[in-house]
């Protein structure tokens, strides 16, 4: 048997109040793509951080191929020098420098005392050509799409040290074509004998590229499996520790159950933003979950922002519960709207504030700065939603940045639920979180609608919307191109609508 690239044995690590890793083993062989799976907080990220030296560990040992003694990395740089590179979810490069400069930052070839720009560009072009990405390396990184930036990050990682590549959620901001390109690249690297650790929440992607799966749950190792030995259903069961059927039990409401007698909660007529979303009509009634489907950048978020007043509309009208509203986020909040934005890192959580402060933030803003909420009331509200959404946190005072991604997402949802909205906008509420939490959030949507809330649900995953929504608006190129109701809704109907070929359908 070939010597493994990485052997981790008996790794244990505590975070304050939590056992993050408990006696975990992990082995990576050359020429394999190894998926690391688990729910949020299962310990995937921690395991990777221990390997790359971003976090220390307490007991256990790490062996790397070529090193006779166990190795402890003290920093990501040190890990890099030993041949372990990581590409993170958020692209970690300098957008203000050229592609070539990013590839060679910190190690440019010199010509005398000056950087040899010609050589930098030449070598960079060769590296990008090697991995089959057609890109002008002299151009600024920021001018390229996220996908290309991601590829550049990978190119950089492998051009530094070509042994172990860790990909942490590399696909969450890419569209399908881009994902396909990325996978092609990863397979090529594997065939060259590299070991790849792949972390993702997209189950189908695991089955597209990976050779092995290691599953973690609550800091414990569940097991390492060959991909053929672990069908999808069993994978989910292993991750959740319970049967798959539990989470499939979501029954979306049907359109017939929606009472269209009264005025819609939201009625947009010809609402449009110059240079942004084209004028659209949209009604959302109480008790209804309306989805917005479309590709990334098709205008899904823009519709939500225009309704909420985050982007000032230049034309059209918006009527809320029969009354026209002024258009700004605070007026929208007072009119009973809540907008849970897409990127929890930039627009969502205030990372340094506590769980409590994050949850009461919107409600406090709505009440105004001079009507302070008592500590007891804050605690009561926070406790209520922490319980309702099963947010895993050490205490109500824990800073949000210490929570896992899925729990941060729940905190944002909790913040908006605490304002008791009539109309809730959820923009990608389940992106980057585990299946279990996903199902919980989907179920919650349906329940809230059952209690009379109107919900606008935006997601990239068609399956998820089919499970949750009773009506779908379809977006293409910043226009709303149609609606699908109940029985019309199917993956293929949505796809062809998005693609714009409904004319020659069948």
């Amino acid at each position: 048997m070939v010597e493994p690239l990485v052997t981790m044995r008996g790794i244990t690590k505590h975070f304050p109040g939590v056992l993050a890793l408990d006696d975990v083993d992990f082995t990576l062989a050359p020429g394999e793509i190894h998926a690391l799976m688990g729910e949020n907080g299962a310990g995937k990220s921690t395991l990777v951080k221990v390997l790359t030296g971003a976090e220390p560990f307490e007991t256990g040992e790490i062996r790397l191929a070529g090193n006779p003694a166990p190795v402890i990395n003290h920093s990501p740089q040190e890990a890099q020098e030993r041949g372990i590179s990581t590409v993170y979810q958020e692209v970690n490069l300098c957008p203000n420098l050229s592609v070539a400069e990013n590839l060679f930052a910190g190690r440019q070839p010199h010509h005398g005392m000056f950087v040899d720009r010609r050589e930098v560009n030449r070598q960079a072009a060769r590296i990008m050509a090697d991995i089959g990405v057609d890109v002008v390396v002299e151009r600024q990184l920021g001018e390229h799409s996220l996908a290309v930036q991601q590829m550049v990050a990978i190119a950089r990682a492998i051009s530094i040290s070509a042994k172990v590549l860790i990909l942490d959620e590399p696909t969450s901001s890419l569209n399908e074509q881009e994902v396909a390109r990325l996978f092609e690249l990863i397979r090529k690297l594997r065939d060259d004998g590299m070991g790849v650790i792949f972390i993702t929440h997209f189950l189908h992607q695991v089955y597209q590229v990976c050779d092995k799966i290691t599953v973690l749950r609550n800091g414990h190792l569940v097991g390492t499996y060959a991909i053929e030995a672990l069908p999808r259903r069993d994978l989910v069961a292993a991750m959740l520790g319970r049967a798959f059927d539990d989470m499939a039990a979501i029954h979306r409401r049907s359109e017939d159950e929606v009472d269209r007698g009264g005025a819609p909660v939201i009625a947009a007529r010809g609402l449009g933003v110059r240079g942004g979303i084209r004028p659209f009509d949209l009604d959302v009634y109480a008790g209804e979950v309306v989805g917005l489907a479309g590709l990334l950048g098709s205008g899904r978020t823009e519709v939500a922002r225009a309704i909420y007043g985050a982007d000032a509309a230049d034309e059209g009208t918006l009527v809320v519960k029969g009354a026209p509203v002024k258009h700004s986020p605070i007026d929208s909040m007072r009119a009973g709207m809540a907008f849970c934005p897409e990127s929890r890192k930039d627009e969502g959580c205030v990372q340094d504030l506590s769980v409590r402060e994050n949850i009461v933030l919107a409600e406090q803003t709505k009440r105004g700065a001079f009507r302070l909420m008592s500590r007891a009331e804050q605690d009561r509200i926070t406790r209520e939603y922490v319980d309702l959404l099963a947010i895993k946190t050490a205490s109500l005072d824990t800073p949000v940045k210490q929570l896992s991604g899925g729990n941060q997402q729940k905190v944002i949802v909790a913040r908006w639920l605490a304002t008791h909205p009539d109309f809730l906008i959820l923009d990608e509420p389940t992106r980057g979180i585990d299946v279990g939490t996903k199902a919980e959030i989907q179920r919650l949507c349906v329940e809230l609608a059952g209690e009379g809330m109107a919900i606008l649900f935006i997601s990239s995953e068609i399956d998820e919307m089919l499970r949750t929504c009773s009506r779908l608006g379809v977006m293409r190129d910043l226009s709303k191109v149609g609606e699908l109701v109940d029985d019309e809704m199917s993956s293929s109907a949505i796809m062809s609508k998005i693609a714009g070929d409904e004319a020659g359908d069948d």
Partner: protein, 409 residues
């Protein structure tokens, strides 16, 4: 291009119906986007020369460089600091302190001028190392460290000078900021040497610009349309040669202008072509990424502050030589001129973006406006009001410009 894509529905009709106005719009768009700062500079010059007849006189144009060269010197260092997403509020005090040290050496102890210069520069380096240590090694934000430095070095300047000004330096030290080179190539009524030097510089500038344009074209990057590119070169050439001709009628080529030119070229190369300079941009663009890429972030930050201290020392020498004395209150507010020059020149407040050329033009704009206001005899109260407004409006314009173009794209 951009104006039409912003309103896609109307694009076809308006473009076809009014080709002339579409072309003008296109031109304005391009000029605004690429050369807004240069355009502003030219407009300011024209406005000032109409307003104040004396503005374009040979003696005033000569004075301009003698009086404001320190802003440009400081802006060179400040740009590096600002691109790092740091700030240095102490430079005005450091200018006073280093000037004071030079005065003690030269005036009080009667030592030769070059020892005074050396003492000032070493003091500047030491100050920079002190501040660089706290920022880069300890990790205190530059804003705080240099706010402390502003007080610290102002006080040290006062103590060094015992609260009174020391003068005169005289001799060669005085000549640093008040000396001229004239008559090497002869000429009657004007100095041929001055004009020749400027002509060489202009040709050099044109060649460099042309080569960088050609390179960008080769890499399929966007460039200014050729007529506009030529117009830009012509404007720069006309302004520079007009300036050369005027000052050649006065006292010739100021020594300080040569020093300044050397510094600008050296720093242009450091920022653009050394791994140190590129590291500065990398840190400003994404500190974490730079760190992970093995850019020596601490080392670079430290040396950027050392360099700022050094340049403050240079400015201290230039300023005290110009005044022929060291004063406890010298340099008050100079840091703000330098910072303003960088931001007017298009540097980003969040780091990562900013060019030496932009900062220099920004500094020139600040300089000519100050000079114009002094010629007009505006009161001490009005001058900062106008400068403050200009800084705010310049950055607002820059933001508006960027936002507009990014929507269009």
């Amino acid at each position: 291009m951009s104006t039409t894509t912003a309103t896609p529905l109307a694009a076809g009709s308006s473009g076809a119906a009014q080709p002339q106005s579409a072309f003008v719009a296109y031109l304005v768009e391009n000029v605004l986007r690429r050369n807004g700062i240069l355009l502003a500079f030219v407009v300011v010059i024209i406005a000032l020369s109409v307003w104040q007849k004396k503005f374009l006189s040979p003696s005033n144009l000569t004075n301009l460089v003698l009086q404001y060269s320190y802003v440009l010197i400081l802006a060179l260092g400040m740009l590096m600091i600002i691109v790092l997403a740091q700030i240095d509020l102490s430079v005005g005090s450091v200018v006073a302190f280093t000037g004071a040290v030079a005065a003690v050496v030269v005036v009080r102890h009667g030592m030769p001028w070059y020892l005074g210069v050396a003492a000032a520069l070493i003091t500047g380096l030491a100050v920079g190392a002190w501040q660089g240590f706290w920022v880069a090694v300890v990790g205190i934000p530059g804003f705080i460290v240099t706010l402390g430095g502003q007080l610290l070095f102002r006080g040290l300047a006062q103590l060094t000078l015992n609260y009174v000004s020391l003068s005169p330096f005289g001799g060669k030290y005085y000549g640093i900021s008040n000396g001229f080179i004239k008559g090497w190539f002869g000429g009657t009524g004007f100095d041929v040497f001055t004009v020749v030097i400027f002509a060489v510089a202009v040709v050099g500038y044109a060649v460099a610009q042309w080569r960088s344009r050609a390179a960008r074209l080769k890499y399929q990057q966007e460039v200014a349309p050729l007529p506009l590119f030529i117009l830009q070169i012509v404007i720069v050439a006309v302004v520079a040669m007009f300036y050369a001709w005027r000052i050649s009628q006065n006292r010739g080529l100021p020594v300080i202008l040569i020093i300044l030119a050397v510094f600008i070229m050296v720093y242009g190369m450091v920022m653009g072509r050394t791994s140190f300079g590129r590291g500065v941009y990398a840190i400003g663009g994404n500190l974490l990424a730079a760190q992970l890429s093995g850019v020596k972030t601490r080392w670079i930050t430290f040396w950027a502050f050392v360099n700022m201290g050094f340049l403050a020392g240079v400015a201290g020498v230039i300023f005290s030589a110009r005044m022929n004395s060291a004063q406890p209150a010298a340099g008050v507010g100079m840091e703000l001129d330098a910072i303003a020059a960088c931001f007017i020149g298009g540097a980003s407040t969040t780091g990562g973006i900013g060019r030496i050329g932009g900062a220099m033009i920004g500094g020139l704009i600040m300089a000519v406006i100050s000079n114009g206001m002094q010629l007009a005899g505006l009161s001490q109260g009005i001058q900062p009001v106008i400068k403050g407004l200009i800084l705010t409006l310049a950055v607002a314009f820059d933001l508006w410009n960027k936002r507009r173009t990014s929507v269009a794209a």
